[in-house]
């Protein structure tokens, strides 16, 4: 059990300590740990977590950590995963505030969040391919319709992501059961 806790800590500590580039950048980094490194979930399960995570407010990183931690090791697991997500950078911020204050407009810090963007794009590409592979198991006609309608609703009609996720759930309950 202790080694599971340690694994959980590392699985969420690592993505968050290299997590530059904004909120969603963390998604493929968590996936690399949870699916790639530890094999705790498959793509379908990860997609379900992402779906609900995107349908609910507040940061995606802590929601994913809390749920995945719970799945692996119950409530203590959820606590450890959230702690690994939140605590390291927060403690650094509180303890090294005056040092960080000098860096707050530094071009080097800006370079961190800039150069990581293409790397995250590549990781997201790979994750998208995995999700497409898993999602297309419902048959290509259903899959293509759902992807196209999601795109239309989100980008053209500017629907809220929560509504589109709910629409996917309803479509699934009616036609994919």
């Amino acid at each position: 059990m202790l080694s599971t806790y340690l694994d959980l800590f590392l699985a969420f500590f690592i993505p968050n300590i290299i997590g530059y580039g904004g909120g969603p950048a963390i998604i493929p980094l968590i996936e690399a740990q949870v699916i790639g490194q530890y094999g705790w979930m498959n793509a379908q399960e990860f997609a379900e977590v992402l779906a609900l995570g995107n349908a609910l407010p507040s940061p995606i990183a802590t929601k994913m950590a809390g749920y995945i931690g719970y799945q692996i090791a119950g409530l203590p697991g959820a606590g450890i995963a959230v702690f690994a997500t939140v605590a390291p950078s927060l403690m650094l911020m509180i303890s090294a505030l005056s040092l960080l204050y000098k860096f707050r407009h530094s071009p080097r810090v800006k370079a961190l969040s800039q150069w990581v963007l293409p790397v995250i794009a590549a990781l997201m590409m790979i994750l998208s391919a995995k999700l497409i592979h898993s999602g297309s198991s419902i048959g290509w006609p259903h899959f293509v319709i759902l992807v196209a309608v999601s795109g239309l609703l989100l980008e053209r009609l500017k629907c809220h992501p929560t509504l589109v996720i709910v629409a996917g759930l309803i479509y699934g309950a009616l036609f994919l059961g």
Partner: protein, 163 residues
């Protein structure tokens, strides 16, 4: 999220003024990880010490984590029902679209930030290292971060001298 926090912290409770809030945000952004919890934790610490820090982080994190756990464990519990299994499947294509869109957004942002040539080479290199050489994604990201932090800063020579 940040504008909402600003409204509560600066306008409603007046724990900080505008300048202090934007400095805290800038300092938070020098560190990795989610910004919302860094802001909550720091403002909580400043206003109410360790207890304040813990309470602010708990308030930010716990409610939605509980909703996630409840909703997903319920879903998993009833997965034997065909229509529940259908719901789980129906949501994957929606997530596929969201990830494709995010991929596209990050490609565009990367291109704007460091230029088409560098960003394309970096994407190609990452794909090759991960898919062909099986290198761990975390190691690649960490390497790029170290490179970005150490590379000479060309623009604004005045600031470049200041490490």
């Amino acid at each position: 999220m940040i504008p909402l926090v600003h409204q509560e912290v600066v306008q409603r409770y007046q724990w900080m003024d505008d300048d202090e809030f934007s400095n805290t945000l800038a300092i938070g952004n020098t560190l990795p990880g989610p910004i919302a919890t860094k802001m909550a934790g720091y403002i909580g610490y400043k206003t109410g010490g360790i207890i304040g820090c813990l309470l602010a982080v708990i308030a930010t994190v716990v409610p939605l984590v509980l909703v996630m756990i409840l909703a997903l464990t319920t879903l998993n519990k009833f997965k034997d029902l065909p229509w529940v299994a259908g719901m789980a499947k129906g949501v994957v294509p929606v997530v596929c679209w969201m990830m494709i869109k995010l991929t596209w957004d990050f490609m565009k942002k990367g291109q704007v930030a460091i230029g088409l040539v560098y960003s394309s080479v970096l994407i190609g290199l990452c794909l090759a290292l991960i898919l062909l050489a099986g290198i761990n994604a975390g190691i690649i990201v960490a390497t790029v971060l170290v490179f970005a932090a150490l590379k000479p800063v060309s623009s604004k020579p005045g600031k470049a001298a200041n490490p």
